[in-house]
Symmetry: C2
Subunit: 265 residues, 2 copies
């Protein structure tokens, strides 16, 4: 199905509607052999949202993610598990996206234990494909809130690969109650009584990444079918007047500070 639309300069621009996505003409021409100047083709593909998407198999995605973890670690593995397949199925803008640059998401950003690379990578994928909320759809933003809450509440790792490197019986399941690497990994290390450098911890994190990629693709497939509905029930800014997670007392104890209201008493 094709349709003509006027762009912001009032020029007619042919767009090809593919399922839920819109493929700009420049992309299609680019894939036919580079007839368009590359800069124009690239602009049309990577900064026009949503990016073209085809439904993926969650199990296959998780298996790819599990293997990629041992090359590029959590965040990058989640990105690559989706983009490597879409590069094969669709081409641009996936083919030229510099995914490997996101290795630094490892260890909650270069070992600092902040947001786990798995939800961070999933958030990047969701917002690259659907686009930022300022570009017309809030679905990427909502999908990220869903990923953060799902990750915090899941008994991880959820996914078991067909050929695990470590006996699954040696990998306990833990609920992090947080999207932070430090807390997610720390609770698992305590339950397993194993150090950060252990093979079991590494395989646990590879499986956490695979689990997250699985869940992400389930949501993206629903979105592609027009059936995506956000499931997250929590917003710290709305409920507590500050950015944050839901379990204040885990860090603050009984001494949870009141947030300022700005109202003069």
């Amino acid at each position: 199905m094709a349709q003509d639309q006027l762009d912001e300069k009032g020029l007619s621009r042919r767009k090809i509607v593919v399922g839920g996505g819109v493929l700009a003409a420049g992309v299609a021409l680019g894939q036919l052999g580079g007839l368009m100047p590359s800069a124009e083709a690239k602009t049309a593909s990577a900064t026009d949202w949503p990016w073209p998407y085809e439904k993926l198999d969650p199990v296959k995605t998780a298996e790819i993610c599990y293997e990629e973890w041992y090359r590029v670690f959590c965040g990058c593995a989640v990105i690559n598990s989706v983009f490597m397949q879409l590069k094969e199925k669709i081409g641009e803008p996936y083919a030229s996206f510099p995914s490997d640059a996101f290795v630094f998401l490892e260890g909650g950003q270069v070992g600092w234990g902040t947001v786990c690379g798995s939800p961070a990578g999933a958030n990047i994928v969701a917002n690259l494909i659907i686009g930022p909320r300022i570009a017309g759809s809030p679905d990427g933003h909502h999908m990220s809130t869903d990923i953060m809450q799902w990750y915090s509440e899941a008994s991880m790792p959820v996914f078991t690969p067909k050929k695990p490197r470590i006996d699954p019986a040696k990998i306990p399941h833990t609920v992090s109650e947080s999207p932070l690497c430090h807390i997610s990994v720390g609770k698992w290390m305590k339950a397993a009584n194993l150090p950060l450098k252990s093979k079991e911890r590494k395989d646990r994190c590879a499986r956490v990444a695979a689990s997250t990629a699985y869940r992400l693709v389930e949501m993206l497939n629903d979105w592609k079918d027009g059936n995506y509905e956000s499931t997250s029930t929590f917003s710290a800014p709305k409920e507590h007047g500050i950015t944050g997670q839901f379990n204040c007392m885990e860090c603050h104890g009984d001494d949870v500070p009141e947030t300022p209201t700005g109202k003069k008493s």
Copy 2:
């Protein structure tokens, strides 16, 4: 200066050396009018590291970042403040990088208060330009550790724009001792006694983003000159056997858990 090199397939590939960076032939041709098939030009530019870089003015970068914050918020503002200038100076791969997709970094990833978007955005920029540590240089990884520590120790906001939207006298300076949005913003809100929704808090965060962009460009300029040396002095995995920050007792109090050693006693 130009030189012929053999690529991984043993084929001769003409590369143009520009200062500290290497510009693949496909990029140059692409910029001359799309003579190369777009997919090939894109692959050569975005996934070959390092990306071409020209030194930027830290003050100008910070001013752009401050303005961009009011459009795309912290993480995306840091990315755009650098990439918008390099798009003008160099072109690809900056021109087609989908920076706006990173609006979701706001509020420590969609309001969850994890890593502040400013260092998260700076880490993305450093690792996109220099490349991941698995691609040959550890400088992007090290620059991220520097950013995380510098952000935690700085009296924020460091940078004052020429035309501040809010009287700087109304913006107290605070040291977060953490790269987490929740803690950085929370300590500032406590010091200012102002809520998350206040104009002052928003301008403080715009200036924190601008400060981070300023520091990032200082480091990238040093790197371009061959003078970059990592300044970070801390590694939680090495020192504490777990990913994390340096101030364990701020969350744990006196009850800081021992990390398992895996050694049988």
